[in-house]
């Protein structure tokens, strides 16, 4: 017992010694930790301050919807998902209160092919895939040849829409006939039904695959294009929504195209930006439609190739034809 006690005492003394030691060390440690915390806090604060005020913070220039250039920090940018369902819905409805018409003046076409290039650029098509094409025309042996741009006629009585079994192609309230490539099953009934050969079929993978990866489908642009579906002229429905003239119309250097609203009785020339009364333009120049006898009621009008501005440089299309 004694032994035990005697051994216990020094033990106690050691413990008390240790206790004093620990208090000291506690204060020591506390001081150290406190200092470290203060230093760390100051460092973080100064870092934060620096981040806030440093001039070359990682900023990104962004163009807002109302066309203003603003700068925002890169880390605060959030991805906004395009609402495809809403886009498809408004694309199916069309623009209220309008009836789009196109007037093509054959006297002014010199086959510059700028319309075709602008169209193919916008809709990601190959040089041999046409939404609009300029044809070389000659009615008979003794009549003069001319160039004829031919887009989709956007008929008011569209045979292509009537034959579609899946409601993929449809007519909108503003007169445009569009295709929903997400619905199209590639049966090509519409291609066969169109008397103007306005439709094309994507036999190959689309031209732009890498660039369009992850891009949401825009029904008013038909981009990204889809293999195994039908595509055609869209009257640049996406541009009309912005109040701009179609791609082909604005690209023409020779004033061939006029585009406008039948409800406003006016068309605007894409080259000169001159606006005319539609009724007067058609009346004064003998405007006509393609194959009206089919009852398709096209929305594209042609002005005859009278007093052509340019020579027809190529060989006449039917000169060597044997009848």
């Amino acid at each position: 017992m004694n032994n035990k006690k005697s051994t216990a005492d020094p033990d106690n003394s050691i413990k008390s010694q240790e206790g004093a030691d620990s208090r000291r060390s506690f204060f020591k440690r506390f001081g150290l930790v406190g200092a470290a915390a203060a230093a760390g806090g100051a460092a973080i604060y100064s870092g934060y301050n620096y981040e806030e005020t440093k001039p070359n913070r990682d900023m990104v220039k962004v163009l807002t919807a109302d066309n203003k250039l603003v700068e925002v920090p890169r880390d605060q940018i959030k991805d906004v998902k395009v609402d495809v369902a809403r886009m498809t819905k408004q694309g199916r409805e069309g623009l209220a209160g309008h009836r789009w018409v196109m007037v093509i003046d054959l006297a002014k076409c010199r086959n510059a092919r700028k319309c075709i290039q602008a169209c193919q650029g916008a809709h990601h098509l190959r040089p041999y895939e046409y939404h609009i094409n300029t044809l070389t025309m000659q009615e008979s042996e003794n009549t003069a040849p001319y160039y004829m741009p031919k887009p989709c006629q956007h008929c008011d009585n569209p045979p292509c829409v009537a034959v579609c079994p899946v409601d993929a192609t449809f007519k909108r309230q503003d007169g445009i006939v569009l295709i929903d490539n997400e619905r199209c099953i590639g049966c090509r009934f519409c291609v066969a039904a169109c008397p103007y050969s306005a439709r094309m079929f994507h036999w190959e993978e689309p031209l732009v695959v890498e660039g369009d990866k992850g891009k949401e489908y825009n029904i008013e642009l038909n981009v990204p294009q889809k293999k195994g579906t039908v595509s055609k002229c869209l009257f640049s429905a996406d541009r009309l929504r912005e109040g701009k003239l179609p791609y082909c119309v604005s690209a023409c250097p020779n004033g061939v195209y006029s585009f406008g609203d039948e409800n406003q009785d006016s068309v605007t020339n894409g080259t000169t930006k001159e606006t005319h009364r539609l009724s007067e333009l058609l009346r004064d120049n003998g405007g006509y439609q393609l194959m009206p006898e089919l009852g398709t009621k096209p929305r594209v009008y042609y002005l005859p190739p009278k007093n052509r501005l340019f020579e027809f440089k190529e060989e006449s299309p039917i000169a060597n034809e044997k009848v």
């Binding site: 209220a96 503003d174 409800n263 006016s266 000169t272 001159e274």
Partner: protein, 315 residues
């Protein structure tokens, strides 16, 4: 039958005709582009500086380069007649006003830019082209009239009920009081979806500073007949780019139903033509009725067979 002689004679005539025609064409292409004296004497109201030259260069690249090429590089598109190089002497000997006139009005293959370029933009392009001429010294236009500053010109657009015309009153602030501006030529436009449609010809203000425009009775407005009108001076260089907008209820009230509203074969299911709907429903019902009838008859046959079966009767 055409004899050899006749053909020869005909050919001679054709050659002669071709010769006359081609010489005519040459004469036309070589014809001087005559600019009316008053247009030729027009001058810019602002001085040509480096900033106007830069802006003009951009506008030139957008609107002119596709045919005229780069000034001084002789790389114009080969058209007939060829578009001249803007840095060449042939172009530079034009007066500022002549330049302005030719760009605005156009001729033959050279399109008119009066609707594409504003007066200021046209002058900026001229300032860019003058940069290729070392000998050029600019002469500035005098102000419109003493005492009138360009900012103080106002245009008032109203509908004159008595005369049934659109009335535009032009006035300017002169020594603190409003004074009518006489002899100012104005253009009236109706705003359309893609551009402005000019209504009536350009009209000049009378001594009261008032110009009257005839408004076509057939021009469509919106559903209430409202038409957005725009009036601006023809000579933007002298008056500045002042303009006034006003909505007047003078158009033909226009409402046209959506094009996909009526029932048609091509329309959506809800808009199926009645005849098609009835024919389809009737045909389907007929076929089903036929099937049911056949089944019934078969059942009756089976039943009567069962009743008349001698084996079953014995049991």
């Amino acid at each position: 039958m055409l004899t050899r002689k006749m053909i020869d004679k005909l050919m001679k005539r054709i050659y002669l005709l071709l010769f006359v025609l081609s010489s005519c064409a040459l004469a036309v292409s070589a014809q001087e582009w005559i600019v009316p004296a008053e247009n030729g004497a027009k001058l810019s109201t602002f001085a040509f500086t480096d900033s106007t030259r830069t802006a003009g260069g951009n506008l030139f690249n957008l609107n002119c380069k596709s045919c005229h090429g780069d000034p001084g590089k002789n790389n114009a598109v080969k058209l007939v007649p060829p578009p001249p190089d803007p840095a060449s002497l042939q172009m530079q000997k034009n007066s500022d006003g002549a330049f302005f006139y030719k760009v605005s009005v156009g001729r033959g293959l050279m399109p008119s830019f009066k609707n594409t370029l504003s007066a200021t933009d046209t002058w900026k392009i001229i300032s860019y082209l003058r940069g290729f001429n070392d000998k050029y010294v600019q002469v500035l236009a005098k102000q419109l009239a003493p005492g009138i500053s360009l900012e103080q010109v106002t245009l008032l657009l109203t509908w004159n009920k008595e005369k049934k015309q659109v009335q535009v009153a032009v006035s300017s602030l002169k020594e603190g009081t409003r004074q009518p501006v006489a002899g100012a030529e104005l253009k009236l436009f109706a705003q359309r979806y893609f551009g402005n449609l000019q209504v009536d010809e350009a009209r000049a203000t009378d001594s009261q500073g008032v110009a009257l425009f005839n408004f076509p009775a057939t021009l469509p407005g919106d559903s209430t007949g409202m038409v957005q009108l725009l009036v601006k001076p023809t000579d933007e260089t002298a008056f500045g780019e002042t303009k006034t907008l006003a909505a007047l209820e003078i158009g033909v009230p226009t409402y046209r139903p959506p094009l996909n509203e009526h029932r048609a074969l091509w329309n959506v299911n809800q808009k199926t033509p009645i005849w098609l709907l009835l024919t389809y429903v009737f045909s389907v019902l007929t076929v089903w009725a036929l099937i049911v009838y056949v089944m019934l008859q078969l059942r009756l046959l089976f039943k009567s067979g069962e009743e008349n079966d001698p084996d079953k009767q014995n049991i």
